[in-house]
Chain length 322, copies 2
Amino acid sequence: MTDPDARPLWHPRPQPVADPGLPTRVRVFEVGPRDGLQAEPEILSPEVKIEFCRRLLATGLGAVELTSFVPARWIPQLADAEEVVAGVAVPEGVRGVALVPNRRGLDRALAAGLDEVSVVVSATESFAHANLNTTVEGALATAAEVIAAAGEVGVPVRGYVSMSFGDPWEGPVPVARVAELAGRLHAAGASTIALGDTIGTGTPGHVVDLVERTVDAGVPRDVLALHLHDTYGQALGNVQAALRVGITEFDSSAGGLGRCPFAKGATGNLATEELVWLLHGLGIETGVDLEGLVRTSQWMSRVLGRPLASRVATALTAAGVS
Amino acid sequence: MTDPDARPLWHPRPQPVADPGLPTRVRVFEVGPRDGLQAEPEILSPEVKIEFCRRLLATGLGAVELTSFVPARWIPQLADAEEVVAGVAVPEGVRGVALVPNRRGLDRALAAGLDEVSVVVSATESFAHANLNTTVEGALATAAEVIAAAGEVGVPVRGYVSMSFGDPWEGPVPVARVAELAGRLHAAGASTIALGDTIGTGTPGHVVDLVERTVDAGVPRDVLALHLHDTYGQALGNVQAALRVGITEFDSSAGGLGRCPFAKGATGNLATEELVWLLHGLGIETGVDLEGLVRTSQWMSRVLGRPLASRVATALTAAGVS
């Protein structure tokens, strides 16, 4: 036989084998330009951010969070929101989204021409205080105000519930509390409710429990999304558990861009490449070009001058994808 | 309220929430001292290896692959197998295992006093040729010879089937082929059959399919184990799928020690910390002390002078575990 060492290596890709009972199509909600970049120390130029968004959209992603309309003194990394949005051509049928902290942020986002925004509420008082400078009720009231104002012009609002699993100060977060808040956010009119495992401590049984209790609290299953961090390497196990209970929208960040602000050196957002590999391997359609994502992450890695966290990007780069 | 920034951070640990229908206890088979160290470039002293095994056993692990009785010219990293085994006190009831390549290796392992060994067969001709210097049939014949000789002295033999999912030269590996080989290894008398995702390309549906076909080929479910690599970050998703079809033994490496020889810079073995976090989070008993594992990996990281791959170890270190 031919010496295998002399032969080119296989160019790996996920082999679709369906796992019965799962959804057949899933929406990947890319948060790299917002949640990823706001957690990195570098402040990139608007041109680089626009190019990042352009490359991401070219992979077929159906939803990209482009930036955040927060005051520059809060998040200097995203001080150029208007310029970025103006420079990105979001294709017809694709969701180009920006996070807004309040009514003023919404007005900026609407003036920039966006047709979907997102808001953040907190499941814990500690995070509401530390990151949103308010209370749980205060954040919910602000979100309701944004949802109402956006509704008047027909703009849907995606609501994140941060610290839906664990909180860096308070520890485990009660499922009943998160389900109640998600129910109130839905009642206020949020178009999507993204349950955030902001510190990555969730596990599959916890995911199933939280999804079912949130549905019991009146939130339709197809309105729910999961925003998972991979701090403890558990995110894909949690995606799988969520797929089994009918969740069809997941957040992730190309290359795993972003860090964990609560554990220095630790991983933050689930990498989009890992999510897409899992989904394609389960025979679930995403519309996303996996190798295009890897090339986008390679480009961002060169921009930042360091390797990114995605294991798929690392391994496919070693296997010759470029 | 108290300023959260002034309060100590929570010390995260998995919150057990059972996922109904899963096993209640799982065996973690630690391969760091063998599969991990043989894939690292450094050659450590026997004293360091003995200390590594001692620390691992102190965490409550029920099975540790201590070394490999292969000729030193093949794997210089593990040339000191007799010395390592002589220096490690394996507690009563705990499996201290060594890999043996052939009858000669078995004799050395038995002389060293081990009461369990492991052998490797390959699901593909390419890997049999490149890494075992034989054919698929040749490797199976050698394994059968080892199993027969070990059986005469009452020593169980664990059989690895390498490249059970994908092969670096041949690509996807047919499920029927792997199931047939596993069936023959079982018929030859192997006590455990560890299906190896050596390049990490497996996905959950593939795992379920392979387990079921292997059971159909005559291998009892409780004889099967999974040896997963995390090259594409998919290992824990695959563990979860395997749990749902009744698999109760999984291989992993403390700290994620070991690399992928087929993708430079890529991750190799699933980290034991990630596996234990998942299992404990599912309410599944392992008998393993997770923080003890993290401290062992911190120690090994200092020995090697570089960070290890485990995300749990990285995040818990940042959270103050030491």
